[in-house]
Amino acid sequence: MATKKRAIKLFEPELIGTAIRQSFVKLNPVLMVKNPVMFTVEIGTAVMLAVALFQLITGDRTQGALWYNTTIFVILLLTVLFANFAEALAEARGKAQAESLRKTREDTPAKKIFPVGEMEVNEVKVVHSSQLRKGDLFLCEAGDIIPMDGEIVEGLATIDESAITGESAPVIREAGGDKSSVTGGTKVLSDRIKVRVTTEPGESFLDKMIALVEGASRQKTPNEIALTILLAAFTLIFIIVCVTLKPFADYANTPISIAAFISLFVCLIPTTIGGLLSAIGIAGMDRALRANVIAKSGKAVETAGDVDVLLLDKTGTITIGNRKATHFYPVNGMEEKEFMQLTALSSLADDTPEGKSVIELAAQNGVQAKTEAGMSFIKFTAETRSSGVHIPGGMTILKGAFDAIRDKAAKAGNAVPAETAEKVRLISSNGGTPLVVAVNNEIKGVIELQDIIKPGIQERFERLRKMGVKTVMVTGDNPLTAKYIAEVAGVDDFIAEAKPEDKMNYIRKEQQSGKLVAMMGDGTNDAPALAQADVGVSMNSGTQAAKEAGNMVDLDNDPTKLIEVVEIGKQLLITRGTLTTFSIANDVAKYFAIVPALFIASIPALQSLNIMGLKSPESAILSAVIFNALIIPVLIPLALKGVAYKPIGASALLRRNLLIYGLGGVLVPFIGIKGIDLLLGLFM
């Protein structure tokens, strides 16, 4: 894909530096308090610092050795720093992505058009792009960089958008219609356009979205809030556990040091997920950005993971571009070459892709047609639904929809050959479009136009089906054609002869039954549907209205991007869920390390709970705390990359993740803590 050039290494040296600096800045309690789990760890760290200082000054030894308390303090500090580092690294990566986008919109010269007087005589002056305001007009010619986002009001141009999309093939943008929007930072390759600025400087759509990606204006998503509440509840349970342990220990005549209390507490609270939670959220947005999708909010990405219904345009998404001529069927025994000659002639002035494909197919068969003097062309109109050519000498060739040509033939008193009617029916039922060709209102044959379904699209739909997402194809084709293509491509449903309001109604209907709907659109007439859909992805090439209405913008203008967006959303939730499970499952081993260590002196019988055979109470507690701290940086890559999503059905996925992260979460710390204890045993 075109996204490669913006890929940032997980531990890019430059970013690491920034992230380390930020880890210390984030120690500020005002910032920490937003993360209740890590905030309590910070408090514990402060208490340990106080204990160590108190010991240093007074020489008191009732709370254990000074080196031991100092070590605990350092490890706790590291725990907080590791968590901060995870968040800072995710933010730094987001910023770096955003920066590379922003580079494309540095100050560039702009050819601003100043209206002179009331007259239509305009003057062009070169100004800085930062001086352009909403509503201003500017001019761009071949070789110019477009200074601001805007809409073409006049002209047509080929534009290189690779700076934004990474796609090197130039695109065509023209005034009017759905492809009138241009983006600042892209380059005009040919022709000349007049553009009206649509945003104030620094407030363009992309600017706003980049700010979001940077994390500056990131808000916690509803799901993240719910998880934070659950984690806070777990933290409270462990506060209760630790506070009540004091009188319990008094009853059992066991003195427990402050260091042991705080270590137990920090080990039990879900620091792993607490430390990585915001990094996971930021990384989710970041992954979307790397897929060249800019999400307006983290919530939009999360919602994407829940989507039940996907509305996809047929053209460009399911089929390649436009229909192409695939066969010629002359009637009444006419020579095929001769018929081709006729069709090619009739298409000479036909600029539509379909028309061009007719000439192409004829040429492939060695039949050429040239414009000759005296020919006059009949333009296609919605009324006649046919086009063609008058050739000097009284021959008129017409090409068009079957019923239009049939009516003309009938008027002229010519019968419709049974062969033709049969062919037309056959082509339609195979998802093709028949075009009938007549000479002087006498039917000569049929051209078959077919859609070409994108390779690999069936597999993608199959994957979506396994994810539980229903796919719906939207097309302007008649129901018969639509049904055929839907079947071949493997979509679940289709909307044929779709008008913009049909999309809207379909979305409403699905939403009323409680489903979440995603759609992709580019035109202004898509805007209401994009706004109505739960996830609306607009293409960057689309109109400003469409972009404002959706909640994501796809910079690649790739209609299949929705599928990736859905997976990114799922990945985000899965990463949160699995790391929560892992974090909490870890506690089992930590209990087995710390509880016997606490009571070993007064209740030797509890040594039987020391199933790991840890060396001494001190090394047991240290090992648990060290494991607890180290697991955070170890999991940073997983948090940032996300846990892979596999479309194997919800129950199978739950089983798999429970096995890996639940059972794994129970077992891994037993091994880890024992290993650290063995290492510590060399020094203690």
Binding site: F238, F248, Y251, A252, L573, I574, R576, T581, A650, L654
Partner: protein
Amino acid sequence: MNNEISGVILLFLLTVILAYPLGKYIANVFSGKKTLTGFLNPVERFIFRVSGINPAEPMNWKQFLKAMLTINLLWLVYGFFLLIFQDKLPMNPDGNPGQTPDLAFNTAISFLVNCNLQHYSGESGLTYFTQLFVVTFLQFVSAGTGIAVLIGLFNGLKEKTTNNLGNFWNYLVKSITRILLPLSVIVALLLAFNGTPAGFGGKDSIVTLQGDSVQVSRGPAAGMIAIKQLGTNGGGWFGVNSAHPLENPNYFTNAVETISILLIPIALVFALGFYINRKKLARVIFGVMTFLFVIFCSINIYYEMKGNPAIDKLGVAQTAGSMEGKEVRFGAAATALWSVATTSTSNGSVNGMHDSLTPISGGVVILDMMVNALYGGVGVGLLNYFIFIIIAVFISGLMVGRTPEFMGHKVEAREIKIAALVTLLSAFLIKGFTALAAYMVAHHPEIAWQVKPGAWLNNPSYHGFSEMLYEYTSANANNGSGFEGLGDNNPFWNITTGIVLILGRYLPIIAPIAIMGLLANKKFIPESPGTLRTDSGTFGMMTLAVIIIITALSYLPALALGPLAEYFSLY
């Protein structure tokens, strides 16, 4: 196979076989279908007419809870005053005195909340009047409250989107007339025919084989014993509960009473499946509950049949197992089964002394009450399980990449907040108050209270700690059984357990109903292939994991200091 063990297995299988059709019957009663007890319709219509209730009036979750709380408050005041003035009321042939205010407070609450923690002995602490019109009455209505509330929850689950949880009064009345009364009549008859007293005569005197003259308390006990077993109440007529030869005369009555403990709680799980038409969900829930139940039973039966190692060391043979505090007519296995059944269901009746269980079994019964959702109390057991489901749904929803949903409703921050609070609550009540008691014993043993903290415990050390832990765990779970070594009839224990009783009863009822009310109000999301099915074995496993992890993490240190420390120093 060993006779004792086959007896226990048969007993459990028989219970499940009886519970299944009962579950179907319960579902039919509350969905208004025709049942065998249709002839009671006029009785209920009469009750509704006299009370001015329209049983068809819909209630949202707030109205539903308001009705429940109001009538419960009324019963509390009623019970409290009757207990204080019982010496002035009729039907007191033995001339028992009125209760002190702190004991009356504890007793009234205790029976109101379906706990039946007894800081008195029935023979001397109550009169026949209060036995019948306070204790037995509350045993019926508190169990009825549990069933009624559960049906409210069922209604929320049944409808796609609704405000209406049904009419609380309707469910309360019907749960008594259609379920508790008929079953109690059957059980009471079985008990009476086997020798349990059912008359109004006062104490009788007998001459024992040794030639001593003994006064034997009697009274209209059979009916009360039936409802105390069936309604997961557990408060006995006699002080030693179902270990008493008149309360539980023989192996057959023991079988009847054991079945009665488990019958309705298990039937309600099946009723869930029938009522909301999701039998698979009910089966999965039953499977998870039974899985843990069977493990707990196996542990207790094993350790109780094995005997006490301290006695082994003396060279005394224990062919019958550990028989301290057990009745010879039941044996070790049947007592072990009862101990797990009564703590699983928040019943709290005993047929042997839990204080005398071997350390691991003692730990298991405490753990069982900490979970408090293996079948659980009548109605409330499933409500507790519902909280575990909500947390399991949330975490597993994330793990499959969908914002969590249960039965077509999204589980969001508000629901999680409520569920988390309830989970916190039991940890707070049990550990907080045990810590308070431990603190008093450790630091102020000689404080000038009616009973000095230093004199609370009949056993020192770990076992003493287990006694305190047991008392609050039992109060929080509304179980009501005790490690009877504890000196608990004094203001400190009467008042603190009273507080734990109220909070441990009503918050875990209010919370699930509030969650259900909020969920049922949300837009219904139809199931898609991407939805995590909550009626699958996988999700059952997930719930099981959540139950074990939350309970283990909350209570392991406390259990380590009590039963585990005792076990490791004894074995």
